[in-house]
Amino acid sequence: MFPAAFDYRAPASLDEALGLLAQQGDAAKVMAGGQSLIPLLKLRFAQPGMVVDIGRMRGLTGVSRNDGWITIGALTRHVDLERSYDLPGQLSMLPEAAHWIADPLVRNQGTIGGSICHADPSGDWGSVVLALGADLVARSANGERVIHAADFFQGPFTTALGPDEILTEIRVASSSKPAGGAYNKLERKVGDFATVAVAVQVELDGGKVSRAGIGLTSVGATNIKATEAEKSLVGREPNDAVIAEAARLAAAAAEPKTDVRGSAEFKRDVVRVFVQRGLKTALARAKEARV
């Protein structure tokens, strides 16, 4: 099984890459680690005229903190996030989510930015950035712009990025308040896409939830931000009733479809279960969190 023929460029710098995209428009497809794109090319579901391989450029990797932001380079591999043992509590969800992506070999090659831009509604990072309320930084030959995660995912495999843009960074405003997250995923086996997964993030202020984020995987046309559920938590003391209410609202926000992985009813209920479990874990982590 082989891809159809295409032209290939491996720009040495971001500017060179952006120049190529400006020139090629829709005909070019950006590739980072290639772990989503190459299977599509092999199945001939995607037949771009040109592949622009940004995976060989230097830079855009790693996690850094400055100017009130925690920044993750778009070319940071899943494995590097999985093994980020020293992240602040605010990002405790990252290694956990990374751990369940695909399988260990794919994680050695695939990148967070590539995965987010692929925008598979079954992708894990989408829910994580929604729950974190992250900003996604995009560059084109014309300059840089910031897209809120909530505005990024527009449909299955469709994002707010223009054909001439490249995602360069994922960034989160760093907070001095105790915060924690959790990622729960139901998969049929290692390497499977999620049947359902839920990213949950909470920030505490004096025993009350000051910020909450909930992202849902595989239960809609995109990763879903469970806004009503998030709102229900803010300003409240997170007791069992509050948690159950948030879980109920998140389940209501899911738009699952019945398929070989299970019925819509089943998936919706697993959302409920995972929001409950995730909130309990996230709250415990927030309470003992490094800031």
Binding site: I38, G55, N108
Partner: protein
């Protein structure tokens, strides 16, 4: 396109279409057929190679993508007639049956022990969870990697004994 890479320590190059997969480059252009194709969708790991020491699936990499980098295949594990500790472990613990997944499993095991010389059973099982074996039920693959870990630990203290497998016992 011109592509060159280090394969098992030797500089190798070729002229390929961009769409040529790394596994095909290794098998067809370099006639290194120890790297296998099992699924085409990066699900099974039969095509596993080490890319700069880390296991990846060569069916889901373009040959041009790894230009200038270093690849290790199963053919690069043994030192002449002497099997590497992982290879010896697979032999001693019956870690292989049909042999088709074996190169990938051994390469993953090699990389794991490089990073984590004393893995727990769970760590081993997690490390090989991107590689499918249809024959062994993984029991003896786990033992094989444990065997290699022990052998490597023992070799810290002394020069390793050569293990030679040729035509059996």
């Amino acid at each position: 396109m011109k592509v060159s890479m280090k394969v098992n320590g030797a500089e190798r190059s070729g002229d390929v279409e961009p769409r040529v997969l790394l596994v095909d480059f290794l098998r067809t252009n370099l006639a290194q057929t120890g790297t296998h194709i099992g699924c085409d969708t990066s699900s099974c790991g039969a095509c596993t190679v080490l890319l700069d020491g880390e296991p990846v699936k060569s069916c889901t990499l373009l040959a041009v993508q790894v230009d200038g980098r270093s690849i290790t295949t199963v053919e690069g594990l043994a030192n002449g007639a002497t099997l590497s500790p992982i290879q010896a472990g697979f032999h001693e613990e019956h870690g292989l049956q049909c042999g088709f997944c074996t190169p990938g499993m051994m390469l993953v095991g090699t990389a794991l022990l490089e990073r984590n010389p004393e893995p727990t059973e769970d760590e081993i099982r997690w490390a090989i969870s991107g590689n499918i074996c249809r024959c062994t039920g993984y029991m003896n693959i786990v033992k094989a990697i444990q065997h290699a870990a022990k052998a490597q630990a023992a070799a810290q203290a002394k020069v390793p004994e050569a293990v030679v497998v040729a035509g059996g016992e």
